[in-house]
């Protein structure tokens, strides 16, 4: 059905406690007409994968500012693949150095959004890249 809302999981893996950005994005995507599942702080990769699976989301958006992205994000994309969720679009945002982006893209993060990204950019990217589901 074409009018079904896109479902997005917004999660904060790891230990940093800065969730303002994730909340603002969740709120902004709500206003863009998405159904946003917000899971809050301190998510393990297993929690993210399990939530993505049970909620059958189209997109997983990961916010991370702790510097642990090279450890946590590959574990999440790997877990999603193992759970059979390879058709889920994975994006990341937060504080992620440009030099790390190619490696993250290689493990399945389709896009890394840096500081200054507008909500409209994120929404448009999701609409343009979310994979059609049967």
């Amino acid at each position: 059905m074409s009018d079904r809302p896109i479902k997005v999981l917004i999660a904060k893996p790891g230990l940093d406690g800065h969730d303002r950005g994730a909340k603002v994005l969740a709120r902004g995507l709500r206003d863009e007409g998405f159904e946003v599942i917000y899971t809050g702080l301190r998510q393990t990769p297993e929690m993210v994968v399990s939530a993505a699976l049970q909620e059958d989301v189209d997109v997983v958006g990961l916010s991370i500012l702790s510097g642990a992205h090279m450890t946590l994000l590959p574990r999440i994309t790997d877990g999603l693949r193992k759970a059979g969720l390879d058709d889920v679009l994975v994006t990341a945002g937060g504080i992620i150095p440009d030099d790390d982006i190619p490696a993250l893209e290689k493990v399945g993060v389709s896009r890394v959004f840096g500081p200054g990204t507008t909500i409209r950019e994120v929404a448009d990217y999701i609409r343009g890249n979310v994979r059609p589901r049967a």
Binding site: M1, R30, E32, E35, I37, Y38, E46, M47, Q54, E55
Partner: protein, 343 residues
Amino acid sequence: MSAAAARAVSAAAERAAALTRAARGGDRRALARLLTEVENRTSAGEAALRELYPQAGGAHLVGVTGAPGAGKSTLVAALVSEARNDARPVAVLAVDPSSPITGGAILGDRVRMQLHASDADVFIRSMASRGHAGGLAGTTLGAAAVLDACGFGLVFIETVGTGQSEVEVASVADTTVVVQAPEMGDEVQAIKAGLLEVADLVVVTKGDRPGASRAAAQLRAMLTVGGQHDRAAGDRPRPKRPDVLLVSGLTGSGVAEVLAALDRRAAARDAAPPADGPSAAALARAEAQVGGLLAERVATRLHQPAQAPQWAEVLRAVAKHEVDPYSAADRLLATIGVPGEGA
């Protein structure tokens, strides 16, 4: 039916059959996909429900309702943990409101339900209300039937944060738990009609806070008053006399007692002799589902694209007060062959 339409129907039926088989075999991803089909009201979702409905009916459906922030999600999470101590599979359907403006939603109930990520026998699913009023989504009961048929014997249905009168969940759940935080008002709040009246169980949350046990005592006094008149009431509808329990999500106190109270109700239902027929809750659920689908199907037929000019014309006439709304409704019903009230 055209050949293309027939092919689409059989493709949907095949997809439904494959998902249903996998989901009943314990494949959680298939279960999640099936719930999406149901939630999106696809033909595969409908085909799956037709197949699964006869397998459902055994689960205890527990509605959990109350004001925003009262502690519904925290209570449900604690009850899930408690049920898992006995290794029982548990599912949760957590409904949050959709924006009436953009259709978007924030589904935030999982924030409080983080403990069981790697436990395959806990399945939590958020649902946006998608325009449905009354505290649930239009497809919540369908989703509950799917979970029931897939082996979840205990299904919690958490409503959107409710006000005083969103009581829909009470007409569809086997047991309705009304969650009340302390400091939510005086005794007059406790005797108002509405939400508290539909409770089979009232749970006062945040029991570690000062004043919580006083709030529970007040509610108990007000909700159980008048019990002695019940026998004299004859056939008049009687108010329920819910137990009032005090819990703390912080310390976990009282949670086991709530689950035990729920289990007593399920046991009483299961012990009722079959000759008594379906329970009142099951009959009410049947009525809600069939009534909801009837209204939906009539609305779909009324809103076929071919009817659009007629709709526009009728609405304009009503807006200009040339036609009254009753005659307008009759006129539209006549377009699908249903005689109106005034006919």
